[in-house]
Amino acid sequence: GPLLGTEKDNRLLAEKYLRRFYGLPVGLQSQKRTAADFKSKLQEMQRFFKLEVTGNLDDNTLDVMTQARCGVPDMGEYN
């Protein structure tokens, strides 16, 4: 079903976060591929912050994503 307003906002926030800090690919990809990339990058982020690794956007993960932080990516090459 369609995402509710808050869920959509949270999803957008998470995508932006994962793109910036975990190299979530941007651009045109199949919906299936996008969902798989999102899940695997989310798991990478949860592992880094020692959260429960679910691949789902739970409250604890969102809490971490909204905290003040350094702009340098946590993983991968820093361009």
Binding site: F21, F48, F49, K50, L51, E52, N60, V64, Q67, A68, R69, C70, G71, V72, P73, D74, G76, E77, Y78
Partner: protein
């Protein structure tokens, strides 16, 4: 470290402060940057030379939104700063978000702490997964020497140790919740959550949270000490009392109650008690038990006086328990005592130990 272990080739690294934030005096910015650089030079053979014009290895500036590197900031909060790993051109450059409010204390984002973290990047350090490390990506306020063991190991792997400073005292690494030898400093309830203090950190356990959350004490309560000896919640007053040495603080939720710290002797403890080991409030009785070495006292919250006939022996009154306690919490008629790496589940009504578990069982281990 960053991929390819980027580092400066020379141990003398130049820096220049290109512009200043209006939030602080120029001299405060200079001091914050210099102190932040000293944090790293104390641990390594690196020396930092300030330039007033021209191009330095590390160019330090304040800017907002898109500020010239195609790596924009995001307005207040969120991203605070970023820095580039060692290299030519933009390499080593360190940028602070001017949309943040910068301070030299805990009232806003502390420039020294953020600068020390960013300059770590400028020297080749990547992010740490240790929440007690300076290189952990999330901002938290703390006082004292900012480098943890993990930071020191990281920077010394790149540049080696400082030949002149044989003794640097890194702050302890974040405690590992599943370490079988883990012991607690203190534990308390806080509005339905359990808070467990260990070194400079506390774990927050919520019935609906799968994983305990570990945070630096100072980042939540900058004015309480880094070491908590004992703590308890008085739900009637909606207060948590924190004990450290001969002083105690009262918290209302996450706010500090005015009029504190007070001396623990105000509770009626003898002057010979210089610190408590544990404290726990028995809600049904309105009593608070205060533990010190092998004895404990009972404090009546309603009258604000110590009950007569105390101190009494822990060993005699709590059969099956050790004779000392590190931390204690009370849930639905059960007392949970923690001593070293053992947890005792004690039935207050039947006056006996029901279960003996590892201390970190409460943390899901």
């Amino acid at each position: 470290h960053f991929p390819r272990h980027l580092k400066w080739k020379n141990n003398i690294v130049t820096f220049r402060i290109v512009n200043y934030t209006p939030d602080l005096r120029k001299s405060d910015v200079d001091r914050a940057i210099r102190t932040a650089l000293n944090v790293w030079s104390d641990a390594t053979p690196l020396r930092f030379k300030k330039l007033y014009y021209g191009t330095a290895d590390i160019m330090i500036s304040f800017g907002r939104k898109e500020h010239g590197d195609h790596n924009p900031f995001d307005g207040p909060n969120g991203l605070l700063a970023h820095a580039y790993p060692p290299g030519q051109g933009i390499g080593g450059d360190t940028h602070f978000d001017e949309d943040e409010h910068w301070s030299k204390d805990s009232s806003a984002y502390n420039l020294f702490i953020v600068a020390a973290h960013e300059l770590g990047h400028a020297l080749g350090m990547s992010h740490s997964t240790d929440s007690g490390a300076l290189m952990y990506p999330i901002y938290s306020y703390a006082t004292g020497y900012p480098l943890a063991e993990d930071d020191v190991k990281g920077i010394q792997a790149l540049y080696g140790p400082n030949p002149d400073h044989k003794k640097i005292k890194p702050k302890p690494d974040a405690p590992q919740k599943c370490d079988p030898t883990l012991s607690f400093d203190a534990a308390t309830e806080l509005r339905g959550e359990t808070i467990i203090f260990k070194d400079k950190f506390y774990w927050r356990l919520h019935p609906q949270m799968h994983e305990p959350e570990l945070t630096l004490i100072k980042s939540t309560w900058p004015s309480i000490p880094n070491k908590v000896d004992a703590a308890y919640e008085n739900p009637e007053k909606d207060q948590v009392i924190i004990f450290s040495g001969i002083r105690m603080w009262a918290l209302n939720g996450y706010n500090l109650v005015e009029g504190y710290p007070k001396y623990i002797h105000k509770l009626g403890l003898p002057k010979s008690v210089r610190k408590l080991d544990a404290a726990v409030h028995i809600k049904d009785k309105g009593k608070t038990l205060l533990f010190h070495e092998e004895e404990y006292w009972s404090y009546d919250e309603a009258s604000g006086t110590m009950d007569s006939g105390y101190p009494r022996s822990i060993e005699n009154d709590f059969p099956g328990m050790d004779d000392e306690v590190d931390a204690a919490v009370y849930h639905y008629g059960f007392l949970y005592f923690f001593h070293d790496h053992t947890q005792y589940e004690y039935s207050y009504t039947s006056r006996k130990v029901i279960r003996v578990l590892r201390t970190n069982f409460i943390l899901g281990c």
